[in-house]
Amino acid sequence: MEVTLTHFLIVSTLLFSLGIYGIVTRKNAIMVLMGIELILNASNINFIAFSRFGNFGLQGQLFALFVIVLAAAEAAIALAIVLNVYKTFVNVNVDEIDELRD
């Protein structure tokens, strides 16, 4: 079977689902971040696959680049937040952090 758009979309769907699973089940905040990265990668595969097989020129690849930039910014901010949470609560388990004030 020749590899076409469908194959790439299926790979992207599976990657997205694994990311969702990671976000939902993990306790550690950094593991939740890894799940978000998987989801962003899945969306990028979709963008680039449609850019390759559709008729839009290279706009899909450009948006994939924008997504990568946003992922970098998001990772930096999220890590700073996680560090602050660790200083306050001494762990980063998202199910135990349920207080907004001291």
Binding site: V3, T6, V11, L15, L33, L38, N55, A73, E74, A75
Partner: protein, 162 residues
């Protein structure tokens, strides 16, 4: 089955297997290293789709930047010398059922849709076209992303120093 298909299946298997281990392994450092293989596999898929520049950016930014940040986060927020590097999971069964249903629905939609496929040949190099697009039609987005990165990095640095 030609070489292109074979390489695609290889990269797809690498990506999905290591992504599966990322979300299931209990050791955080191991999960970070499996994430490395996932990013490599995704970069290979980009190359197969003719996106050479995006693949390089994926390697530089994700593997060289984001993954290093994540590993730093793991090492700072866990006592690396003690055994407290494990991460627990909660609600795995309902999550597996829900995600499985979701995957099934989306997969059925993808398989049953008659996708329009343009007969465009693979571009030689995307670099010059991407550069021209970035500095012509998308120059506003480009500049805004630059400002966003600057603001995000300054914010992250000041938040982490407090």
């Amino acid at each position: 089955m030609n070489v292109y298909d074979l390489i695609f299946y290889l990269f797809a298997a690498l990506t999905l297997l290591s992504a599966f281990f990322v979300v299931t392994t209990r050791n955080i450092v191991r999960a970070a290293f499996f994430l490395l293989f996932t990013f490599f596999g995704v970069a290979g898929i980009y190359v197969l789709l003719g996106a050479d520049f995006v693949a390089i950016v994926q390697l530089i930014v994700y593997v060289g930047g984001i993954l290093i940040l994540l590993i730093f986060g793991v090492m700072i927020t866990n006592k690396i010398t003690s055994v407290d590097i494990k991460a627990g999971t909660i609600q795995t069964l309902p999550a597996a059922i829900g995600v499985g249903l979701f995957t099934g629905i989306i997969g059925a939609v993808i398989l049953n849709t008659d996708w329009f496929i343009a007969n465009s040949e693979m571009p030689e190099s995307t670099l010059s076209t991407l550069g021209k697009m970035l500095l012509n039609e998308y120059v506003l987005v480009f500049e805004l992303l630059g400002i966003l990165l600057l603001v995000a990095l300054i914010g992250a640095a000041s938040m982490a120093r407090k």
